[in-house]
Amino acid sequence: MKIEEIKEVVLSIDSNASFKEDKDQRLWISVSPDKLRDVLKSLKDKGYDHLSAISGVDYPQNKKMELLYHLMHSSPRENPYLTIRTEISRDNPEIPSIFDIFAAALIYESEVFDLLGIKFVGHPTLGRLFLPEDTPKDLYPLRKDFKNNVYEVTRK
């Protein structure tokens, strides 16, 4: 499935999607958040059934957060490795969850919520994954404005 075919598939769903090619057969597609689920669903039907990871990036200076979904085809030698990226606002970051399309997203999305604070609407067990349960609600360490308070311990 050459790169042009993928572009047609994505453009048919989200008209203002933009593409960036990489020299070692990688394609970066940026899509608007509300079209994300349809793009992922159609790509999964085309054979992109392996969700490698979800990366969250925080841009405090222009008030937005970015999510990158890394996808791989079931026969990866002929098809490029995809990265779908969407931007969401930073003050109340919310995006529909995709755990029903890719079951692996259950853990990746709760990790991104735990460390970056992006709420995934519809995620069944969204909660602290890595940090202890008693961490304060608004403390998200991977945000740029997180002040690095080292954990204090009361000695026995």
């Binding site: 057969q25 392996h50 990871a53 969250g56 925080d58 990158l68 692996a104 067990t125 360490p141 991977l142």
Partner: protein
């Protein structure tokens, strides 16, 4: 009526702490909930304050056993950000570190996996053969476990010819040992009873849950970064992907044993035609990166390891995302544990070769009376061996 089985986080034999909460009905596990985070150190935040050269030294401390994979994958990503190519001899030595580490990691796991099933002699045998790999690493890189061999643009230490002859001698010795382990695992009655048809991950589930590494190759899915996207010098090396169809714990064991054999062939090929030349290009420790982003993927001994780098032109990365292979294999554990006996839980959890392992303290809470019986890992092993003694006949009939 189900009650909860809390798998406590600290493990006497294995490594990082992880917890599971299993819902039990009689002898069968119904559901499992992971309880992660006992090993979270905030490395991604720390990486944002390290210069481009220092990131690899922090990345290799993510996991002590596959530190070479993390180190190589991190510097491969940094090289993509700077758009520089290491010299060929550097790539050969980097691939040599990756493969030698896969051998030492699989040998370590084989010992621990059979130790979980009660076969302690193999634990001693495989870890003794592994000592020779540690000597090779110490001679080549200066340290037994965390080798820090790679740097941006190549490798830090060269490899002498005497070392390559020693490597080939070791490969011949190990090849004969691996044949012995393979025959033993395939023919030993108790191992077959403990591994065959236990913790089955069907091909459909493996693809749906995006499992990675030997866990998914044991269920018939052809997924291996060296096969999909050959990096380093894997495209010229005699690499063949190892896949088995059954999907149970035995299939995963055989996939890993065969992978040791493939690694031995690759090491022999590297020892024979490694080109001469320098091993790294000049790189200043305080270099500024162009504004760029890159994904670097490497096949760690446990599966596909992914690094995402984002740089905004400074001397430190602005965002580093690390997705370790074990994080992708957590959901398959939950799928594999459903419908199995409690006695099989240590074997199933060990079958994905968790870089995070669990179950030191098991508290059985009986919902009716509310009193809880505390069982430690050893009690659990004794319990599973005793349970197998009584139910051995019936289990064999049912499984074989």
């Amino acid at each position: 009526m189900t009650f909860n089985l809390f798998f406590g986080p600290i493990h006497p034999a294995l490594k990082e702490p992880i917890g599971f909460i299993f819902e039990i009905e009689g002898e069968y596990v119904v559901n499992a909930r992971p309880n992660l985070g006992f090993n979270h150190r905030g490395i991604e935040k720390l990486l944002e304050s390290k210069t481009w050269l220092q990131t690899g030294f922090l990345a290799e401390h993510v996991c002590g056993i596959c530190s070479g994979a993390h180190n190589g994958c991190c510097y491969q990503g940094v090289e993509k950000i700077f758009e520089i190519e290491p010299p060929r001899r550097g790539l050969f030595i980097r691939t040599l570190v990756w493969e030698l580490e896969r051998i030492h990691s699989h040998l370590l796991w084989l010992g621990v996996m059979l130790h979980e099933a009660g076969f302690d002699t193999i634990f001693m045998y495989t870890w003794r053969d592994r000592e020779l790999t540690m000597d090779l690493f110490e001679e080549m890189s200066g340290r037994r476990v965390v080798y820090s061999m790679n740097t941006v643009g190549g490798v830090r230490r060269d490899v002498t010819d005497a070392f390559l002859q020693k490597l080939k001698k070791y490969c011949n010795y190990l090849e004969e040992r691996v044949k012995f382990y393979r025959e033993l695992v395939m023919s030993d009655a108790t191992t077959l009873a403990r591994f065959q048809n236990v913790g089955i991950l069907t091909k459909r589930d493996a693809i749906d849950l995006s499992a990675v590494g030997p866990t998914t190759r044991g269920s018939g899915v052809k997924k291996d970064v060296r096969y999909e996207e050959p990096y380093g010098v894997y495209d010229e090396s005699p690499f063949q992907i190892v896949v088995r169809e059954e999907g149970d714990a035995l299939a995963k064991t055989i996939v890993r044993i065969d992978e040791i054999q493939v690694s031995i062939d690759i090491l022999r090929w590297i020892a024979d035609n490694i080109p001469s030349g320098e091993i790294k290009i000049k790189f200043s420790p305080m270099a500024k990166a162009p504004e760029n982003e890159a994904i670097s993927r490497v096949e760690a001994p446990r599966g596909e390891l992914l690094y995402y780098f984002k740089s905004d032109g400074g001397i430190t990365p602005s965002r580093v995302k690390i997705r370790t292979p074990t994080l992708a294999n957590i959901l398959p554990i939950i799928k594999m544990v459903e419908g199995q006996y409690i006695a099989d839980i240590p074997v199933i959890v060990a079958s994905i070769d968790p870089c995070i392992a669990c179950c030191e303290r098991v508290t059985m809470i009986d919902h009716k009376t509310g009193e809880s019986k505390v069982m430690t890992m050893n009690d659990l092993r004794i319990y599973s061996r005793k349970w197998y003694k009584e139910h051995y006949k019936e289990v064999r009939r049912e499984r074989l």
